[in-house]
Every structure is written in C-alpha cells, then in structure tokens.
C-alpha cells in the first residue's frame, strides 16, 4: 500500500496569535445567542409522537364501538414479564354478538411489570390491543399503576377496522343457512 506523506503546514503568524480563530468563535456563539432555542419546554410543550410509537398498551374498540377482544389470552401467554392478566367471560345473550362467544370479564395490565415490548400487539389475532402514543405513566400506589379494563378502553379509544371479521362471519353463516334451504 502506498504511503501518502501528508505535509503539515506550519501555522501562519495570524493563527499563532489565536486571534482570528477567537474572533470566528465569538461570531458563532453570538449568532447562537440570538438564535431560537432548541429546548422543548416539556410539560407545556409536548413532543410530536411518531406513528407506530410503542407507548402504553391499550385496548381498542371497533368503529361501531364494539369490544374487539375475544379473550383468547394469547397476549397473556406471550407477555414476557407476565404483566397481563385476563379473566375470560361470556358475551351476554341479546347483544347481537353472541356468535363471538367470549369477551374479557376483566383485563388488567400491570404497568409496573410491562416492558413495552409490543409482543401483545403483535400476537393479537383480533387487532384489539395496541401500544399507542401515551408515553408517561405515573401513580402514587402500586394499585394505581395497574390499568383495568375500563381504563384500557378509555385510553385506547377507537381505531379504524379494515376487516369487520365477526360481521363477515355472521353474514357468511346466515348466507350458508339461507343457501341450505
């Protein structure tokens, strides 16, 4: 490999007095003195959360305000720190959703255990659990740091649904019933 000899130029007299460099530096800092500040003043100003941010896990409803979770408990089983605890229950008669069969009776996520890994969101076959953009969680007691089902739906809100899987199933079942005759 060829060796390239780089000649180091001796400093000029002006450079050895430091003064031109000091002057240049002073100009730069003066510019920054009057420049707009970079700091985000946190509690008043909030950062813009990018899409697909992994914040606090939440339960979401479909656009018709119906519960999506069918309490299959896949998230509970996949959760590495065992933060999720689901008590399965039945979907009550007369709600028009009897064919879904199951829904969570209780759904608790212990935010003191949650590691925000997003596996629950990944594993959910119903697209019912999402890590959304809430990034700050605080509470005065351990109990306060457990998100119960109503709280999970409250911070989760409603997300658009592309499939309406259970509506299609119901329609298909009815079609099949009609077609049989």
């Amino acid at each position: 490999m060829a060796v390239i000899q780089v000649s180091r130029k001796p400093l000029t007299f002006a450079e050895r007095t430091y003064l031109p460099q000091i002057y240049g530096g002073l100009k730069i800092t003066l510019k920054h003195l009057f420049a707009p500040k970079d700091t985000l003043e946190y509690p008043e100003q909030r950062p813009a959360i990018p899409p697909h941010y992994r914040g606090v896990p939440t339960l979401v409803k479909d656009p018709h305000g119906r519960e999506k979770c069918v309490s299959c408990q896949l998230c509970e089983f996949v959760c590495p720190p065992k933060a999720i605890r689901i008590t399965p229950g039945e979907v009550p008669e007369g709600s028009g959703r009897e064919h879904v069969e199951k829904g969570p009776q209780a759904f608790d996520i212990d935010m003191l255990r949650c590691i925000y890994c997003g596996l629950c969101e990944e594993v959910c076959p119903e697209e019912a659990i999402f890590l959304q953009n809430q990034y700050s969680m605080s509470g005065y007691s351990r109990e306060e740091m457990v998100n119960h089902k109503d709280r999970l739906y409250e911070i989760g809100g409603t997300l658009p649904d592309e499939h309406f899987k259970w509506d299609k199933k119901k329609a298909a079942a009815e079609e099949a019933a009609h077609g049989h005759h």
Partner: protein, 379 residues
C-alpha cells in the same frame, strides 16, 4: 447632607462604607452568576433557568412572569441554599487554614472596590467634576494591583489546607499563572500613566485622573486610551482574563483534569464565598479596564460627560454617570461570559508560554515604544 456625613465619627463612616460595599457587590456578584447561567444557556440554545417563582410574585400579571423567565428566583434559591447548608469540614483538612481561605479570598476582592471610582458628579460651586468613590486616593491603581493580587494567597491556602492532590495541583497552577500574568498586566498600564503624568504636573496613579485625561476637549483629549494605546488595552485584557481565572485561562479550576481545582474540598457557604470573590474580581477588573481604556463614565468617545450634566442637579448627574459606568462594566462582564462560553481552556504549558514568551515581551516592547513616543510628544 454632606455636612451630616462628614460630622459622623470616622469609624462609623468606615463601617457604613464597608456595609455598602458588601451590600452592593454581593448582590451584583449574584446577578453575575445568574447572567452567567443565562448567557451560557442562550449560547447553547437553551432557555436557561426559568421555572422557580415565589407565589406572591406570580400574582403580578406581566412582570412576575418576566422575572420567572429570567430565572431571578433560582438565584435567590441558590443564595438561600448556600446560607442554610450544613457547615461541613472534611476530616483530612487543616481546619484553621481551610476555614481561613474563603475569607482571605473575599477580603481583597471587596477591598479593591473602595478605590475604584464608579461615577462622578458636577460640583456646581467649584465648577469641577468630582469623583464618586469610597476612597479617591492618589495611589488608586497601585492599591488595586497590590490588594487584588493578595487573592492568590487564598487559592494557595485553600489548595494547601485541603490536603488533597487535585486542589493542591490547582492552587500551584493558579499561583504560577497569577504571578506570570501580573507582570504583563502591570507593564501594560505603565504607558497610560506615563501619558497622564506629564512632566511638570503632580504625579498620580488615581483612576479618576485617568478618566479626566480622557474627557478633555479636542480630538486627542477626548480619545479613549483604548484607541491611543490598543496594544496596552489588549495586553491588559488578556492578563485580566488570566488574573480573574476566567476561561480560557481557567487553570485553577479546570474541572476536566483537576475535579474542581482548588475548591474541590469546599462546599456550602465557604464555596460560595470563593464564587463571590471570583465575580467581585471580575467586576473590579472590568471597572478598572473601563476606567483606564474605555473612558469611564463618558458616554461616547469624544463626548465628555461634564458638559452634559453640568446643568442638572448634582444627584441626577451622579446617577447618570453611575448608570453609564455600570452599563459599560456590565457590557464588559458580558464579554467575559461570551468568551468563556466560546473558547476551550488552554493547556497549562500554553498558558505559561503565552504569558512569558509572548505577552511579556509584547508588554515590554509596548512600554519602550510608548516611552519613546511620549517622551518626544511631551518634551
């Protein structure tokens, strides 16, 4: 008013003057520390301290918010914290000298202020401008240099008494640095006094007379010495940065390699005394520079103050003079801070090289050149 003041016993006058110095300089130093934090923040693109507020000030509609954003209450909280912190003395120190060092730091810093005139008023009866100073003595600048340089003893004492290697190294560096730059500093102001003390007149080192020299009518009379003697001003300025231990001559502290330098082992109120002493040195240094080279209380070059305030009441003219002088000092202190947050620290060998091999020969050459020039001009 004046008679009443002069009729007070001498000890009472001295005590009042002393209290006045403390009451003015310590808040001033506090304001400087706040300015330091704000200037550093702005230069680094931050808003700086802006949260603390006292509830009853928050009730003032606009002004309270302004004070809060300015960080004034952080300063008060800081001061209060220093006063009420536990007085800790590490076990391994020499207790007597350890306690003595901050006091020795503060005394020369506050003492030098007594001889620095901070304004002037028009004496209508005698038709002359008289200085506003606690003690307008003829040896003015000599006192500043002599007493001001005693500050190095506090650094040596602090480093020695701390009985710990980093403070010791810091104090050794500081003392070597202060001694090196004092030479150039003293030599750089000699041309000013050669010019002021024309042959035939009474000899003086008074800072007031230097300003008077810069307030004469005519082009040469009204020129500030910064224009007449730019090299003197430059050498004095560089030496001033070194003498006040400011960046880029921040050797005694140099927290990157010496933890905290000479005050590593200090905390609470004792540490804050070092802090106040540093800012007091800076204030006095800026004041002396303004008096020597920037025309003191004269508003602009070639615009002396005396004709402007001659028609006004004495107190108003005095206030105007003080305001102009303090404005210049504040600008200068801002310059100190601006440089501090621009430049990195010199290496120790660079500091010594600049001091002995560059600044000192320059100061001597400058003195010789001006001596010859002044001798020819004033013959």
């Amino acid at each position: 008013m004046i008679e009443f003041w002069l009729n007070l016993p001498l000890w009472l006058q001295a005590a009042i003057k002393g209290v006045a110095v403390i009451a003015v300089i310590i808040p001033f130093a506090g304001a400087c520390s706040m300015a330091e934090r704000k200037v550093s923040a702005w230069i680094q693109g931050r808003p700086g301290p802006n949260r603390a507020i006292v509830p009853w000030v928050a009730w003032i509609p606009f002004f309270g918010k302004f004070l809060q954003r300015l960080g004034v209450f952080h300063l008060m909280a800081d001061g209060g914290k220093f006063v009420f912190k536990e007085n800790v003395v590490p076990a391994h120190v020499n207790r007597f000298y350890y306690q003595l060092a901050p006091v020795v730091a503060l005394i020369p810093a506050l003492t030098t202020i007594t001889v620095v005139p901070f304004g002037a008023y028009w004496d209508a009866a005698a038709q002359v401008l008289r200085p506003l100073a606690l003690a307008n003595v003829d040896v003015g600048l000599l006192v500043v240099f002599a007493v001001g340089s005693l500050g190095v003893y506090s650094i040596i004492l602090a480093g020695w008494a701390s009985n710990s290697k980093y403070p010791f190294l810091g104090s050794v560096r500081a003392s070597a640095q202060l001694i090196s730059y004092e030479l150039s500093m003293t030599l750089s102001v000699l041309p000013v006094f050669l010019w002021v003390n024309a042959p035939g007149g009474g000899g003086t080192l008074s800072l007031f007379d230097v300003v008077q020299q810069q307030s004469q009518p005519g082009f040469w009379g009204g020129t500030w010495f910064a224009f007449l003697m730019p090299f003197s001003a430059f050498i004095f300025l560089v030496a001033l940065f070194a003498e006040t231990n400011r960046q880029p001559f921040d050797m005694p502290e140099s927290e990157a390699d010496l933890v905290g330098g000479f005050h590593t082992e200090y905390g609470e109120f004792k540490w804050s005394l070092f802090f106040v002493a540093e800012y007091a040195h800076m204030i006095v240094g800026s004041g002396v520079f303004v008096l020597l080279f920037l025309g003191g209380w004269n508003p602009l070059p070639w615009v002396p103050l005396a004709p402007l305030i001659a028609g006004l009441p004495a107190w108003l003219g005095g206030l105007i003079a003080i305001a102009i002088f303090l404005g210049k000092v504040a600008t200068f202190i801002f310059f100190f801070m601006w440089v501090r947050w621009t430049l990195p620290r010199f290496r120790y060998d660079q500091v010594m090289k600049i001091g002995w091999q560059k600044l000192l020969p320059l100061a001597i050459a400058n003195l010789i050149a001006y001596t010859i020039g002044i001798a020819i001009l004033q013959k």
